[in-house]
């Protein structure tokens, strides 16, 4: 079993599309998404999915820190940047920790907080080269318009592009940051 395949963790996400993307991406990167990575996604209903992830975050951080001696644990909390953007979203998560009397995320912690901006659709379309990279414009409808019922195949192609280096060299700052964030999941401590 590779190092990545042995890692256990939790992924907090807003919706099915994000889960689909992250699941395929982590799988392609060698994580065991079937048995060792637990996905939790926001329920449909009143309120925002982003807020649901933010409110779950402290509990999962506390859980992770309580098992500090287990070196193969990780946490990934992914939220769309929307109009707020990368830095504001990351700040919100640290503030959420502080509000529950937890220390902000530390550099050595296996906690990743990628922020697809404008949204996960922007990442997928940018990785596919479907649109000019743009973090200031919503792209939710564009993905459905271009790929419709074949969105699963579009995600698979986007993940291949990520693995081929398309994310690290993307013109989207949030996508390049996403690569750095994911590297935290396997960081040596």
């Amino acid at each position: 079993m590779s190092d990545r395949a042995a890692i256990r963790g939790v992924v907090l996400c807003e919706d099915q599309l994000t889960e689909q993307f992250v699941r395929k991406l982590l799988g392609a990167l060698g994580f065991d998404t079937r048995r060792r990575i637990r996905f939790a996604r926001a329920p449909a209903g009143d309120g925002s999915g982003e807020a649901w992830v933010r409110r779950q975050y402290p509990r999962e951080v506390r859980e992770l820190r309580s098992k500090r001696h287990q070196r193969d644990l990780c946490l990934l909390a992914i939220r769309d940047g929307d109009r707020f953007g990368l830095d504001a979203r990351k700040r919100e998560l640290d503030e959420q920790l502080l509000s529950t009397e937890l220390a902000p995320r530390q550099a050595a912690e296996r906690i990743a907080t990628p922020v697809p901006t404008w949204s996960i659709e922007s990442w997928i379309l940018a990785l596919l080269g479907d649109i000019e990279p743009d973090e200031d414009r919503p792209a939710k409808a564009e993905l459905a318009r271009r790929h419709g019922e074949r969105v699963g195949e579009a995600i698979a192609a986007a993940v291949r592009a990520w693995c081929d280096g398309g994310a690290a060299t993307s013109a989207l700052p949030s996508l390049r940051d996403g690569v750095d964030e994911l590297s935290r999941l396997t960081a040596q401590r």
Binding site: P43, D46, A51
Partner: protein, 368 residues
């Protein structure tokens, strides 16, 4: 996909109308009508395929107990590649004679009648012109179950093909038999004839077996393959067996009946998944997670969601937190019956700002 269902005077459904999406999680207390909704759709589909709409499908006991009328009405709006088909069925039950007759049945496409049965006459409209073929028919079952693919009725055939492809499952693994004597193109709702359905798939779509075995190898430790072997009772009888790695190398066979309930359930569920990938269809799944190990529910559900996304449709009843928490991110349908009265459905159910999962909110009885 089915976009709208209307049911009147059936069990706890009284003038009941429901809009459906591609993914539909049906939630609610026991006796709130979830399984009955699935049963209506499955029975209509059976009636259009096997002619059971009245003979063994809808029966007088299914009339709403607090309603004195003897007539039932069912309607389905089905969108297929942009065309909207409207199916209507009106039944009359003779409670004392234990008899059920179709009073009226019709199918329209985008407002144009394709088929009608009324006053003892079938009216079949041709695709290309205004001609109508009419003839008498006894309404003990649907004439549509007899109708095969004819070029002059291609629109009607398109609707019927879709309805006949519906798969409904309320699995009881212990009732699945190993022995099959013939192929079955459809699967019984309790899964009991799985061996015969598998035999049909192996014959018609052998290329898919590799895909099925790949999925099952991930879900069942040591699993290698399924096979139809032997001819114990007569020349056509076969036993369905599962082959597994043996501890000391090589492989061993287990008759399907020798597998655990959970193993049988997983094999049926992954076969349904692979079947769904072969063509868009409607799946009606009533508590499919029963018997399945906790860690195996999510991987199967994830694959199912992705398969449905490619043009299928899912109606799923579940009481399991694992399924509720995943599928509640789509549009959950909460079935309720105030004071034991007719079914009502709410669609906006959960609060997301509170940070609790959907199942936990249900358990705590939270209300928006």
């Amino acid at each position: 996909m089915i976009e709208r269902v209307y049911i009147d005077n059936f069990r706890c459904f009284s003038s009941f109308e429901l809009r459906l999406d591609r993914m539909n999680l049906l939630l609610g207390a026991n006796g709130s009508g979830k399984s009955s909704l699935m049963e209506v759709i499955a029975t209509i589909a059976d009636g259009l395929g096997a002619g059971t709409a009245t003979e063994s499908g809808f029966v007088p006991e299914d009339l709403t107990r607090w309603d004195a009328r003897a007539e039932q009405r069912f309607e389905l709006d089905v969108r297929l590649e942009g065309a909207m088909f409207c199916y209507r069925l009106r039944l009359r039950h003779d409670v004392e004679g234990y008899d059920t007759m179709i009073v009226e049945e019709s199918i329209e496409q985008d407002g144009r009648e394709l088929f009608a049965y009324r006053e003892g006459q079938v009216h079949l409209h041709h695709d290309d012109d205004d001609r109508v073929t009419s003839f008498p028919f006894a309404g003990y079952r649907s004439y549509l179950s007899d109708l095969d693919d004819r070029p002059q009725h291609s629109r009607l055939a398109r609707f019927l093909r879709y309805m006949r492809s519906v798969r409904a499952l309320k699995l009881i693994p212990s009732q699945i038999e190993s022995v099959t004597v013939e192929e079955h193109p459809t699967l019984q709702r309790n899964g009991s004839d799985f061996a015969s359905w598998y035999r049909h798939l192996a014959q018609e779509r052998p290329g898919q077996l590799h895909e099925l075995f790949e999925e099952l190898r991930k879900a069942l430790p040591g699993f290698r393959s399924l096979a139809l072997v032997g001819a114990r009772r007569n020349g056509r009888a076969r036993d369905l067996v599962a082959r597994f790695d043996s501890p000391g190398g090589g492989e061993h066979e287990l008759e399907f009946e020798a597998l655990s309930d959970g193993q049988r359930a997983l094999i049926v569920l992954y076969t349904l998944l692979v079947d769904l990938r072969s063509g868009p269809r409607l799946l009606l799944l009533d508590e499919p997670e029963c018997f399945v190990g906790l860690t195996e529910i999510r991987p199967w559900l994830y694959e199912l969601e992705e398969a449905v996304q490619k043009g299928g449709q899912l109606l799923l009843v579940s009481q399991h937190p694992e399924i509720i928490d995943v599928l509640a991110s789509e549009r959950p349908l909460l079935f309720e019956r105030a004071d034991g009265g007719p079914v009502r459905v709410r669609t906006t159910v959960f609060q997301r700002d509170g940070g609790l999962g959907a199942s936990e909110q249900l358990l705590r009885g939270l209300d928006p």
